[in-house]
């Protein structure tokens, strides 16, 4: 019998914030048959478990909860009549934009005019960070704990330690405290927090939860259920300083130690991955190295704010629609953009120079009173943006007008005094 064969204009893989915005934008940009494939049983993705507020301050000038933010887009998806396939998992994508997906209704193969990759990211696990010791129950990534607590009414523990100061860990420290758990502290291996400054204030300081910098969890204890963790201070090279170890009794350890863009499907499709972001290498239309395959949101690079995800996805959806309807003209040459001093990554990694671009970037470490400067192949300044405070937790988005790109054959973006 075999899988059912289908043909679609723009196929959006993932119905989280990136996928929703991309689909809406693709439809608005003139593609009539847009379809969202979502593996969960409802649209909204990870926003559904983010019951705290603070979403949408940029986009809607309001502080919304995760589900409220998602609903704004879900309403548009419904109003525009965009097709959605829920409970449907994409099994594979190939470089001819053929998608194999599975659902309870059967297996089907879709030939897509364009594909938008919007699969999001996953959390780094205990295994991935070589956490030594026993393997007791009570060790969760922060996002799993968030799902269990907020969506399934399941309490994961009573005395918690948070390893890593990523935003989800900070949010969950507060969440546990609100539900009566004792949160012993947040331990961050870096000399500065990984999460947003506003979350340090609102989730830790406001609740009296201590943040220990340059300190990390070095061993788990307990056979059946976690009995405690050993924490220790680390030096500049993140090596444990002998003699600083101490035992913290706890029954729960939440990990908030990084997010990894979920690019297994992309790799299979032949999409080139940029090691600095863990996401696809893209041009200024957010098209990947595979023609007609676009990428946006956390699968492209881990974002700080969902508002930025939506903005990026608007663009990916727009160009995917243009490609699908055959209105995107092929480029003959590109201007490469590379990160310079003090910058961890820039995105896109190459641009046409024929249109305005938005450059996303993160700095390598916290700095004050500096400027982000883009220079061309001759060292000539293309743009300069002064910043009072620079922090790796904060993603920057800098708009550059196409007029500024005349005569530019390559660009480097760095931090200058």
């Amino acid at each position: 019998m075999g899988p059912k064969e289908l043909k679609k204009g723009v196929v959006v893989v993932g119905g989280g914030p990136a996928g929703l915005a991309a689909a809406v934008s693709a439809k608005a940009s003139g593609c009539d048959d847009v379809v969202i494939i979502e593996r969960g049983r409802m649209l909204g993705g990870i926003l559904n478990q983010c019951i705290h507020d603070g979403f949408g301050l940029h986009r809607f000038k309001e502080a919304l909860s995760g589900p409220e933010y998602a609903q704004r887009f879900i309403d548009q998806v419904q109003d525009l009549g965009i097709e959605t396939l829920l409970n449907t998992m994409v099994l594979s994508i190939n470089d001819s934009r053929e998608i194999l997906a599975s659902s309870r209704e059967g297996l089907f193969r879709i030939r897509a005019g364009a594909v938008v990759l919007a699969m999001g990211c996953r959390e780094r696990t205990a295994g991935a960070i070589f956490l030594p010791g026993t393997r007791p129950a009570g060790v969760y990534t922060a996002g799993v704990a968030q799902n269990l607590i907020n969506l399934q009414n399941i309490m994961v523990g009573e005395e918690a330690v948070i390893m890593g100061s990523g935003d989800i860990g900070l949010i969950m420290a507060r969440r546990l405290a609100l539900e009566g758990a004792s949160v012993k502290g947040v331990y961050e291996i870096l000399p500065y927090p990984s999460g947003l400054p506003r979350n340090i204030q609102q989730c830790l300081k406001d609740f009296g939860i201590p943040l220990h910098l340059s300190t990390t969890v070095v061993e788990l204890h307990g056979r059946a259920r976690l009995k405690g963790v050993t924490v220790a201070r680390v030096d500049e090279a993140r090596r444990v300083i002998q003699g600083t170890e101490s035992f913290i009794p706890c029954d729960t350890l939440l990990l908030s130690v990084g997010l990894i863009p979920e690019n297994e499907l992309s790799r299979e499709a032949g999409v080139a991955i940029e090691p600095l972001t863990g996401g696809a290498l893209v041009d200024d239309t957010l098209m990947t190295s595979v023609e007609g395959v676009f990428s946006c949101g956390n699968v492209l690079h881990v974002h700080d704010l969902v508002d930025h995800v939506s903005e990026e996805a608007d663009m990916a959806g727009h160009f995917a629609a243009r490609f699908a309807v055959g209105e995107m003209k092929p480029r003959d040459s590109y201007i490469p953009i590379a990160p310079g001093r003090g910058v961890r990554y820039v995105l896109p990694q190459k641009i046409s120079g024929e249109m305005d671009v938005v450059i996303s970037l993160r700095v390598a470490e916290p700095m004050e009173q500096k400027a982000i400067v883009g220079r061309d192949q001759n060292g000539r300044g293309i743009f300069r943006k002064k910043q009072v405070k620079l922090h790796p937790a904060v993603m920057m988005r800098i708009k550059v007008k196409k007029e500024k790109l005349q005569g530019v054959s390559s660009m480097e973006v760095g931090v200058e005094g």
Partner: protein, 500 residues
């Protein structure tokens, strides 16, 4: 956790009578149970963990050894070669994946050449078929990129998933009438008259004519319960790293360094698993506890270094997990190396079939060990073949994701639960999860699902599927938060409801 096909403790009722009681539900205990289930016998298996195969049987390389490493005439040599040849047929019956991918034992320098020749001669004396010494050119054909002077190729070396195999043996035994008592730690064993009485911590009592000690790392303890003080197990830990599947294609055969005398293991190497991951390890450290399944930062660092040497394309993000297992060694640290298996029908304690020190190649040898034990049992109780014995398990070999799109489409058309993917990384379907939950031995822990359905075993380690599995167990099977165990009693995953 609730659903259990295994026997529950019944206090107060009369003590059940058996012909054979087996202590320990590792691969050896289950292989014996399954072999004896061919005969009209009342058989029970008693296991302290909540599932079968939770100790060393799940915590090893999953390699079927050819039998080149063991002294001719030793039990290890004989049982390994015999076990290896029985494996293929057994796996076919039990629907367990097995791949004879062969092994290169590589000599890196001239000094190691005599070892290679000696291994070949020894292997031939043991009856290992097809051994060849290969030049670099032929080595390259088998494993692109392999470096070394020469290598001994053993074509009968294979790989198998050790816990899938152990579980399949147990299910087959159970379906053929063996009783399983899981979560029952043996506290006391007594011989009175012609019979043994086995008592567990929870108060379960079993009476049996024959008692088989298959307690693995704890086998010396069981001996001592019967006054046998001849044996001591020295737990020796091996740590492993598990690598992402995307590196799996790098290995087409197994590659081991030539062995060096006095070492307790076979050296750190890369092993491909039947599911496409690569294992780096195992290390070799004597430890205090027989169940000290911890990993250490020192060894993990060493394994990472070795792994990078053996597989230059390895990056940190390719390492998805670490684990450790314990070898049941009889050789104390100062002696090192290996001692032969002890498999004996004790004359001083008639009816006691005693297995001690079944370390590597225990997995490979298990079917042959089972036959040897059967012969010992036949001298103690009469064996009469059961006409109703059913050797096959009714199930699919392997997983949904290993099928072609056409086969997958057909399965989904037949049963919609195949269409719903629960575990993203390993593409495990709801149907496979339901089958694991409803398995004949029952499910008392999340790890039981992991070892059966392969959920939570991928690169996200359950980040995506654990909440989904919790939802299935809550909504479809009525689980409460306090019903979830990670693996053993006391390993509660959750503490209750957030709000009532």
């Amino acid at each position: 956790m609730g659903n259990s096909g295994a026997k529950e403790t019944t206090s107060g009722s009369s003590t059940p009578q058996y012909d054979v009681v087996i202590i320990g539900a590792g691969v050896v205990g289950n292989a014996i149970a399954r072999e004896l289930s061919r005969y009209a016998l009342r058989i029970a298996v008693v296991e302290k963990e909540l599932d079968v195969g939770m100790g060393t049987s799940a915590r090893n390389s999953g390699v079927l050894h050819s039998g080149i490493h063991y002294k001719p005439g030793s039990l290890r040599a004989k049982l390994n070669v015999e076990g290896n040849s029985l494996m293929e047929g057994l796996c076919r019956e039990l629907k367990v994946k097995i791949q004879y991918i062969g092994k290169l034992t590589v000599a890196a320098e001239d000094e190691e050449m005599p070892t290679l020749h000696a291994l070949k001669e020894q292997g031939e004396a043991n009856g290992v078929p097809g051994l060849e010494i290969l030049d670099p050119e032929d080595m390259e054909k088998l494993q692109p990129g392999v470096r070394g002077l020469k290598a001994l190729f053993s074509p009968t070396t294979g790989i198998i998933c050790p816990y899938t195999f152990t579980i399949a043996l147990a299910e087959s035994a159970l379906l053929n009438g063996v009783d399983y008592f899981l979560g029952e730690e043996v506290r006391e064993v007594k011989r009175n008259g012609q019979k043994f009485t086995v008592r567990t911590r929870k108060g379960l009592g079993l009476v049996s004519k024959v008692l088989v000690n298959a307690a693995g790392v704890l086998s010396d303890k069981v001996c001592r319960m019967l006054g046998i003080n001849d044996y001591t197990i020295y737990p020796c830990r091996g740590e492993y790293l598990v690598l992402d599947k995307r590196l799996g294609h790098h290995l087409s055969t197994l590659v081991y360094p030539a062995p060096h005398k006095g070492k307790a293991g076979l050296g750190i190497h890369l092993t491909k698993t039947v599911d496409g991951n690569i294992l780096v390890g195992p290390s070799n450290e004597y430890v205090d506890g027989p169940e000290d399944w911890a990993t250490t930062s020192y060894i993990m660092g060493k394994l990472r270094e070795e792994g990078e040497k053996l597989l230059p394309s390895l990056t940190t993000s390719d390492i998805i997990r670490s684990f450790s297992g314990i070898r049941a060694k009889q050789a104390p640290p100062e002696e090192g190396g290996f001692r032969d298996f002890v498999i004996e029908s004790r004359t001083d304690v008639p009816g006691f079939v005693n297995l001690v020190g079944i370390e590597s190649p225990g997995l490979t040898s298990s079917p042959a060990i089972a036959r040897m034990v059967r012969d010992m049992v036949s001298a103690l109780v009469p064996l009469r073949e059961k006409p109703e014995f059913k050797p096959e398990l009714d199930r699919m070999t392997g997983y949904f994701h290993e099928l072609s799109a056409e086969e997958q489409a057909d399965l989904v058309a037949k049963d919609r639960d195949y269409g719903e993917i629960v575990c993203r990384c390993e593409q495990i379907t709801r149907k496979e999860v339901l089958e694991a939950i409803e398995n004949p031995l029952g499910v008392k822990s999340v790890t039981a699902l992991k070892f059966r359905a392969r959920v939570m075993m991928g690169r996200c380690q359950g980040g995506f599927c654990l909440p989904k599995i919790v939802r299935i167990l809550q909504e479809d099977f009525g689980y409460r938060p306090e019903d979830f165990f990670l693996y053993r009693e006391g390993s509660h995953l959750f503490t209750g409801r957030v709000r009532s």
